[in-house]
């Protein structure tokens, strides 16, 4: 087997706060994601989950430690990385078609070719017939589909997802989770899926990584040995699912309490 697709070794990330202080988001984080693995990262609010993704993508650079993607150290935005954002990041002045075609065009593909590929991806995420709509004419779930198609069309070998479905209603969310799994199974991409929702993490992932309350570092990793293909809506009824959930939750609970106490303290100051 080749080396890990993503490798973080002793990574620390500090930010300068507006008041001149220093905030440590991640401390000595070590994490590996294998090729084609679906890895979910869970942790309490403010534990640096999103920062982890920003570091892997190259949008932010680490303060200390080493990050390698496909064996190469990250020095900036790397090729072959897709990123699905928490909030809407589709371009509101572009139609669905133009939004999805953006990636290939940025990589130098001709406009006509990019559009043809975009049409294919639009129908794959179930939006055929909506090519000429603007994002404001779509619902939240449909905009998420556009966002998915937009990143997947570039054929990323690494797919980073930052709580992508957290803004959706419960039914739409389950639907999208299932579609994500079926889209992913047709690729060989390694996924890092950040979420605060433990159920979602277990239902989707091969492995769940639990981060401590900030500054985040790995508290534990848990293998999810549930069979694939999975149906997200039903998998949670399996006894094995409940076992895994309990095992992780007993650890996560402490971190959530720590994070909550800190927030209360910060609010009181």
């Amino acid at each position: 087997m080749a080396g890990p697709a993503i490798e973080l070794r002793g990574v620390t990330k500090r930010f300068a706060t507006p008041k001149g202080g220093i905030y440590t988001a991640l401390r000595d984080l070590t994490l590996e994601v294998g090729p084609g693995e679906f890895c979910a990262v869970v942790g309490p609010t403010g534990c640096g989950k999103s920062t982890t993704l920003a570091l892997i993508s190259g949008l932010e650079l680490a303060s200390a430690g080493e990050i390698r993607v496909e064996g190469r150290p990250v020095r900036g935005i790397a090729d072959g990385v897709g990123y699905v954002f928490q909030s809407d990041a589709v371009f509101p002045w572009k139609t669905v078609l133009e939004n999805v075609a953006a990636g290939p065009r940025y990589h130098g593909m001709s406009s006509a070719q990019a559009r043809a590929r975009a049409r294919d991806w639009i129908s794959r995420v179930g939006l055929a017939g909506f090519e000429d709509r603007y994002p404001h004419q779509l619902s939240g779930g449909m905009r998420k589909r556009v966002g998915l198609a937009q990143s997947l069309i570039n054929g990323p070998r690494i797919l980073l997802m930052d709580e992508p479905f957290s803004a959706l209603d419960v039914q739409t969310r389950t639907l999208m989770e299932n579609e994500l799994l079926s889209l992913w199974s047709s690729t060989s991409a390694s996924v890092v899926f950040v979420t605060h929702d433990l159920e979602e993490a277990i239902a989707l992932a091969d492995r769940v990584v639990l981060l401590t309350a900030g500054p985040g570092t790995v508290k534990g990793t848990y293998t999810v040995d549930l069979p694939r293909p999975r149906n997200v809506a039903e998998i949670r009824f399996q006894p094995r699912f409940a076992q895994i959930y309990e095992a992780i939750w007993s650890q996560l609970r402490d971190e959530v309490l720590v994070s909550y106490e800190r927030q209360k303290h910060a609010a009181a100051v």
């Binding site: 990123y83 990041a89 371009f91």
Partner: protein, 311 residues
């Protein structure tokens, strides 16, 4: 542990792939129940009635305002020599249209002023957009230049009109230059702010998707700043007219500003009002054209919320 959904996969798959259809369904009219049709009818009737009421009240307002002005001057409660008279203004306009003004035919005066204003508007907004985007994108430039820009903005810029009158003489460029300095700052600040307010998520997304710096500017930054820039253009054309008129006051051979200036100096209050009226009409026409341009350029934006009052 909660259960989020109980829909099995097979059912989910066989359902409409779009569980959340767009609110603005353009194609295919849904079958409406008779109650809905009746409701829609009643609603459009109410809306029409309301529109008619508003138009009626507007006319009433104008009649009361102009009527009381006309009446009080006619009855000599106030002296029309100082405050003018609506009928006198109409008469003056009519004379200008049929016999021309002291400076030549009326359309020529309007054309001269509009030419100055338009030139100033185009140059001023172009410079404003270019500098706004440049300084918005390049932090060093913004930090170096910011005290100078603030200082320049603090000057009451209409006084530059006298300077331009010396530099450019009675020519068109002097008036256009006054318009340029008025327009530039408004557009500049808006463009700058627009660039600064670009959603960081959108920029991050574009960079991940592979956009280089040039694409980032043309495809993300500029479209995003466009609504700010266009908003400033609304005010800017009015300012361009102010610039042109002020420029004419400092010395000109033609133009509506010069016409007003002459009327003022010959104690022709009606002439001043007539000139103002013409300027207002021209500014409103320009405003309408800019709105049309805005709607064309920003067709991706949600349409205006009904009931919003366009002031």
């Amino acid at each position: 542990m909660s259960v989020r959904s109980t829909l099995p996969r097979s059912e989910v798959g066989s359902q409409n792939p779009h569980p959340d259809p767009p609110s603005q369904a353009g194609e295919g009219k849904p079958v409406e129940a008779p109650v809905d049709v009746e409701l829609a009818k009643r609603r459009s009737r109410t809306a029409r009635r309301r529109r008619l009421t508003i138009y009626g009240l507007r006319v009433l307002f104008a009649v009361v305002w102009l009527g009381s002005w006309e009446l009080t001057t006619r009855l000599n409660w106030v002296d029309p020599f100082f405050v003018g008279q609506p009928s006198g203004v109409v008469q003056r306009l009519w004379t200008w249209i049929t016999e021309g003004t002291a400076l030549g035919p009326l359309w020529l005066q309007a054309a001269v002023t509009m030419e100055e204003a338009l030139l100033g508007f185009l140059v001023g907004s172009l410079l404003g957009v270019v500098f706004g985007i440049l300084l918005g994108r390049i932090d060093l430039l913004a930090e170096v230049l910011s005290p100078f820009i603030k200082a320049a903005n603090a000057i009451p810029r209409v006084v530059l009109g006298s300077l331009f009158a010396i530099m450019f003489g009675l020519s068109l460029s002097g008036k256009a230059a006054t318009a340029v300095v008025l327009v530039f700052f408004v557009v500049f600040f808006n463009a700058f702010q627009g660039v600064r307010e670009v959603d960081r998520n959108l920029v991050a997304n574009a960079r991940i998707l592979g956009a280089d710096n040039r694409r980032l500017t043309t495809e993300i930054i500029i479209p995003s700043a466009l609504s700010w820039i266009l908003a400033s253009l609304h005010i800017s054309f009015g300012l361009a007219i102010v610039g042109a008129v002020v420029g004419e006051l400092f010395g000109a051979t033609a133009g509506l500003g010069q016409l007003i200036y002459n009327a003022g100096h010959t104690f022709d209050v009606n002439g001043v009002f007539a000139g103002m009226f013409l300027l207002a009409v021209l500014a409103l026409i320009a405003e309408g054209l800019i709105s049309a341009l805005e709607n064309r350029l920003i067709k991706w934006r949600p349409s205006r919320v009904s009931g919003e009052i366009p002031i």
